[in-house]
């Protein structure tokens, strides 16, 4: 039933048209690279080390003080320079008195809980007005992840010390690249399919196409394949710019492939769905924006979500894009494949639901 030849033919004519449209090309490929260049330039460079006050209330256990190890590791990153604050100070008051926008607090039971695998939180103080807060919290979150991983692997304390020396230093650009890849995975297929599906419906182009042997499934597959190709091209471009222009550390692994396929498939289907259920292109555009914009900023694209207040983090977890950016971060930054598998599973389910809905509701003909 589904003909590969017709998919190819439709893919080809769509690609040629897309490449002639400089607007689409700009937003598909050039714009994300510009974002990387701008954000990379702002947050990178030799002068970029941020001084952060840190208070270690950890009393240690079994002769170890993992709170100290944690701060030492942070201090060895190129991003953060730790300024230790006496444990007897009231930390929030101290930060206020020193007009500091960032601070890190290690609680007293840190080592004990860490070793007995009980939940323990490092508190990162930040200010929404500060441009450094995102970087600090992103970096700390990276190290928290790293320390958790050490425990997960069972290497515990010993592995900790030796690994700290070898660990790659995580910078903001390392977080930014997966985020912006997620951003372009969302925006290009989504905006494009909202627009195409509502305009084609209005202009009766779907009716026109239904008079050819092309089926709606073939048409949709051709669009999805195109946006997967565009996503891969954008991915290579962004990683290339990040690595060569800013020396970003990126782990490339086959586990990225599911995200580069599921992402465009999900957002092309979602765009299709919005264009299908709305009456005209104007409404479709508005609904499309309502769906897209919160995801653009809240799903861990420009800022790690852990700098956001709790309720926003909850919202982030219901945004499909979150599982793309988190998954990309898990693979590219933390090399945490078990967590990435969870993201792939969640993403797969959301994608399946949206795709089936879009195909079911999308009609070539009218009754």
């Amino acid at each position: 039933m589904v003909s590969l030849k017709r998919i190819y033919v439709d893919f080809k004519v769509f690609s040629v048209g897309y490449l002639r449209n400089k607007f689409g090309l700009f937003f598909g490929l050039i714009f994300p690279v510009i974002l990387i260049l701008i954000f990379g330039a702002i947050f990178s460079g030799e002068t970029g080390t941020i001084d952060v006050y840190a208070q270690n209330q950890d009393t240690g256990a079994l002769g170890r003080n993992i709170g100290n190890d944690f701060l030492t590791a942070l201090n060895e990153s190129s991003t953060i320079r730790v300024i230790t604050v006496n444990a007897s100070e009231n930390f929030p008051d101290f930060l206020a008195a020193h007009s500091a926008s960032d601070g890190i607090l290690i609680p007293s039971n840190f080592t004990g809980n860490y070793m007995t695998e009980q939940q323990v939180n490092v508190t990162v103080y930040g200010s929404p007005a500060s441009s450094t807060s995102g970087i600090v919290s992103g970096t700390v979150s990276g190290y928290v992840n790293y320390f958790n991983l050490q425990r997960f692997n069972g290497s515990m304390v010993i592995g900790l010390t030796s690994a700290t020396v070898n660990t790659e230093q995580t910078t903001y650009i390392d977080f930014l690249i997966p985020g912006l890849i997620g951003f372009s995975i969302l925006t290009s297929p989504m905006f494009s399919l909202v627009n195409i599906s509502s305009e084609y419906k209005k202009n009766k182009l779907f009716k026109q196409l239904s008079l050819t042997p092309l089926t709606k499934m073939e048409w949709l597959i051709a669009k999805v394949l195109f946006y997967i190709a565009l996503t891969v091209a954008g991915f290579l471009l962004m990683v290339g710019v990040g690595v060569f222009a800013f020396g970003a550390h990126v782990t490339l692994s086959p586990w990225l492939i599911p995200f580069l396929i599921l992402g465009p498939l999900l957002f092309a289907s979602l765009g299709m769905l919005v264009g299908t259920v709305t009456k005209n292109p104007e409404t479709a555009g508005v609904i499309g924006n309502i769906v897209t914009f919160p995801m653009m900023f809240l799903a861990g694209t420009f800022f790690p979500i852990n700098i956001m207040p709790g309720y926003l983090q909850t919202i982030a977890h219901v945004l499909p894009l979150f599982y793309v950016t988190e998954g990309l971060n898990n693979v590219m930054v933390y090399n945490n494949i078990p967590n990435a598998l969870v993201d792939i599973a969640v993403l797969g389910i959301i994608t399946l639901v949206i795709f089936v809905l879009a195909v079911k509701l999308f009609k070539w003909r009218e009754d």
Binding site: K5, V13, N21, L205, Q208, L211
Partner: protein, 319 residues
């Protein structure tokens, strides 16, 4: 051999009966015009025949196929230009033809098709840069890719300037000469008259007249009549002194006398002369398709011969 057989076709949108029990047949090689004001049900009818819309009831056989159930088969055999044809903005006519040919899995001479629709000089321009007439010609070109025996042209010249309209007519005449069966909807009377072998006039979902334009004029027109410029008194005098029954139009100051025989004209003129009253210019007249159309539809025409009526609710329902 009929290419199209429609029997008692009905289609409603909610409470609105867009097509209310129409029947007609179209012979192979015929050009059949569907005429009527906006909202008469033309597009609904044509879309049901094309298999783009499901009917409520009635029988429709297009080239022997049920258009809704056998749409996929039917679409290989027919060519269609929908109303206000559009295509991918950044695709050229030549690429569009090749695209269609690949989808239909056939080899075509795209240059020959472009020449056939008089578009060969624009083959390398992307669709969005074409004029209205060139866009319609692209639509015509695409409808020809699968060498269809039956063509549906839904208002192919609406919104085009007179030159572009004539160019499209020229293309349609060539297709007719090649023996294609063509269904044409239009709300331009001259277009229907110029191109169609037979027309059906639709109004509010019904066919109110059908046949060749001559037949329709004969059936529904008032026949030949004599018009004399004069007064009410003269009209009364003629009616009293002959067997004729003239009608007086006060605004035009014209006495209009139906002529059953040619000789009636002499009697009328003799009576007028006898009356001693003054009378002005005389002429004989016959209803045109426009006159019949207005009589049947009961809606005014604008100067272009296009029916001016308010947007009916089914215009919305069709979307």
């Amino acid at each position: 051999m009929f290419s199209i057989e429609v029997t008692n076709l009905k289609k409603s949108y909610g409470s609105l009966k867009a097509v209310d029990g129409i029947s007609f047949t179209v012979k192979q090689g015929e050009v059949f015009g569907l005429l009527g004001p906006n909202g008469a049900g033309k597009t609904t009818t044509i879309e049901i025949m094309e298999g783009l819309r499901e009917r409520d009831s009635g029988d429709v056989k297009i080239l022997g196929l049920d258009p809704w159930k056998d749409g996929y088969e039917l679409h290989k055999k027919i060519g269609v230009i929908p109303q206000e044809f559009t295509f991918f903005e950044k695709t050229t006519p030549k690429e569009a033809i090749k695209y269609y040919a690949s989808l239909f899995n056939i080899k075509v001479d795209s240059n020959a098709i472009l020449r056939e629709v008089l578009l060969d000089e624009m083959e390398m321009h992307v669709f969005e840069s074409l004029s209205g007439g060139q866009k319609q010609k692209t639509g015509l070109a695409l409808s020809l890719v699968n060498s269809p025996e039956l063509l549906f042209l839904d208002e192919p010249t609406t919104g085009l300037d007179p030159n572009a309209r004539r160019a499209i007519w020229e293309v349609i005449r060539r297709l007719k000469a090649k023996g294609k069966t063509i269904i044409l909807t239009t709300h331009y009377l001259d277009e229907a008259q110029q191109l169609s072998d037979r027309v059906a006039i639709m109004d509010h979902g019904h066919i109110v007249a059908m046949g060749t334009t001559e037949e329709i004029i004969q059936q529904h027109g008032s026949g030949e009549r004599l018009e004399i410029h004069g007064t009410q008194q003269l009209a009364d005098y003629i009616n009293a002194n002959t067997e004729l029954q003239g009608k007086y139009d006060k605004t035009k100051e014209v006495i209009s006398i139906p002529l059953k025989k040619k000789i009636d004209m002499l009697a009328a003129l003799a009576a007028a002369e006898q009356s001693g009253m003054g009378w002005g210019e005389i002429q004989t007249r016959q209803d045109s398709l426009d006159d019949v159309f207005i009589k049947l539809i009961n809606e005014p025409l604008d100067e272009q011969g296009e029916v001016e009526i308010e947007q009916k609710p089914n215009k919305k329902g069709r979307r």
